[in-house]
Symmetry: C2
Subunit: 340 residues, 2 copies
């Protein structure tokens, strides 16, 4: 079991106040064309409405800054600032830690592998962090563990931490403050930090709303864990466009939240590419496949509704390398509009 207590709705409220000066209040985007396409004939009411919380426009390009900022800001409140921060990540969490540490004037070191994307490494270094590269992920994980034992050094994990979960929940919290009550909220599931925080925020603000998770079918450890009732780890490195949700397993803190979800979708690679193209095209944002994946769940949910619904979608980020963009756009899905 984790040695951290499970976060509650109150922790999301505190996080929202705490990180206000550190994060952007990202906008809510809509597409009237998409709304009309996803509203079947004869639905009761004015038609479905989808509200996109554009965390791809967040500083550092992803929601991860919310959790990282919340961890450091909470320590600052308590007067327990570390002298050095370390993290193991090759992606959005690394950039978030680097940026948040720069804001607090703290040195940060990121432990990663030699296969780290040059673009992501350059951004992490731009935000002032040092990068240590290892041959394998296991070596990087071992080294960060060793570094974290030193006095004054704080290791910030990517999702399995109450302040990370509460911080990530502030995206849904802000969104519902801005748009009012929703009938459903959807977010991607990697390690589970975002979906857990989203669940806390939505249950606190709209107790009757459905909270729905989406995961790549090719990295469906959370779905398998849900079926088996215990955390199951992927045995191989998953191949998926939704790289932000390719985490090997969920956390001890996040799994109980995932078990409270109202529905859960496993999304195949064609669907992921399809929705990435359509969201980029309709919303005019550079949104990553991990975010667009949620739309398969939205379409599934809306297809079952008999009256008009308001759905919140947390678009997690927009950091995509060239190889990924090429894969997303290799087949033309824009000739197949997503009519229900």
């Amino acid at each position: 079991m984790s040695h951290f207590p499970s976060p509650r709705f109150e922790d999301v409220l505190l996080a929202a106040e705490r990180i206000k000066p550190l994060v952007s209040r990202t906008q809510i985007l809509n597409s009237s064309l998409l709304d009309s396409w996803l509203t079947p004939e004869g639905i009761e009411g004015a038609g479905h409405r989808i509200f996109f919380k554009a965390e791809c426009m967040q500083r550092t390009g992803a929601f991860k800054l919310r959790g990282a900022s919340n961890v450091l800001a909470a320590l600052a409140e308590q007067g327990e600032m570390p002298t050095h921060v370390v993290a193991n990540s090759s992606g959005n969490h690394a950039q978030a830690i680097a940026y948040a540490c720069q804001e607090f004037g703290l040195p940060a070191t990121i432990f990663t592998t030699t296969s780290v994307s040059k673009v992501k490494a350059a951004a992490t270094e731009y935000y002032g962090a040092d990068i240590l590269q290892f041959d394998t992920r296991e070596q990087a994980d071992e080294a960060v563990k060793e570094a974290a034992t030193r006095s004054g050094v704080l290791w910030v994990p990517p999702f399995n931490h109450p302040h990370i979960i509460a911080g990530q929940g502030t995206a849904a919290f802000e969104a519902i403050q801005d748009i009012g009550e929703v009938d459903a909220a959807v977010a991607p599931v990697g390690g589970g930090g975002l979906i857990s925080g989203t669940l806390l925020a939505v249950r606190g603000l709209c107790p009757n709303a459905k909270v729905i998770g989406a995961e790549p079918l090719n990295a469906n450890d959370a779905a398998v864990s849900l079926r088996e009732g215990k955390i199951v780890k992927l045995t191989e490195t998953p191949q998926t466009l939704a790289d932000g949700a390719a985490t090997p397993c969920v956390g001890e803190l996040t799994f109980p939240f995932i078990q409270q979800l109202d529905d859960f979708y496993e999304v195949d690679e064609v669907q992921i590419a399809y929705w990435t193209q359509w969201l980029q095209h309709l919303l005019k944002i550079h949104v990553e496949p991990t975010s667009a994946m949620s739309m398969a769940a939205v379409a599934g949910y809306l297809a079952e509704q008999e009256s008009a619904k308001r759905v919140l979608v947390i678009l997690s980020g927009g950091n995509i390398d060239q190889a990924m963009m090429q894969r997303i756009w290799q087949t033309d899905y824009l000739t197949q509009p997503p009519m229900l």
Copy 2:
């Protein structure tokens, strides 16, 4: 010569008031990473700053709605509304006309070719316009001319019209209202409506600022026209990623404005793809190559400056089909950051 009078700064002011309820006041985006990369060592002042006016987030996905709305709103003011609107276009102008006519409750018909992109045709029809497809562009142009002779029918040209030019100028006008004075403004040159309006707005608000145009080298009719001192028409259909600037020639109304520009850049296809990748990556928006092309001019301008400059870039739109996205992303330019 055109039978229309040349627009003035006052026309931009009037247009800005007139179209306020019809267009979005699009945001200004920045990238601190890009600013730092484009600021050489030893520059006087805090460093260059680039302000992006995100017209890709405009309704219908491009600045074209400004001009189209201004034409119709001006006629409405004068009590001279047509009974039907026609236009010949296969791109952003068609969507703008369709949308604006829907706002005014006017029927619209778009004359285009059978090669029109299905995605763009679908959006145009969604906004309520009829589409007539012809085998060749010449046939479509002939048919729209014939239609426009009928009583009550108004043909709205894509750029060679004073209210179109003044309307397009409202993008720069709004931007300078929001960010204050700039040292330079850059926009792409197709038919010349956007750059002409931008020149009017910038000269009116910041008389000392440079106004700079950018055009694809592969469709450099404006550059050739500037060199020859008269409007020269492309003899072949140009092959360029910057399809919004592939217009065969500039207009009689726009050419005199283009002749007043402070500088003009012809941009090759590698540079266009390069900057499209970087702007999509850094700004997290789905911006089209025609817009990103301006960055070659920005980099050229900034490389010659000895003190810190504030530059406004009008990002014209974000309507990109799959074939274009594939071409933009086929080579990896994100491993080559744009350091000066």
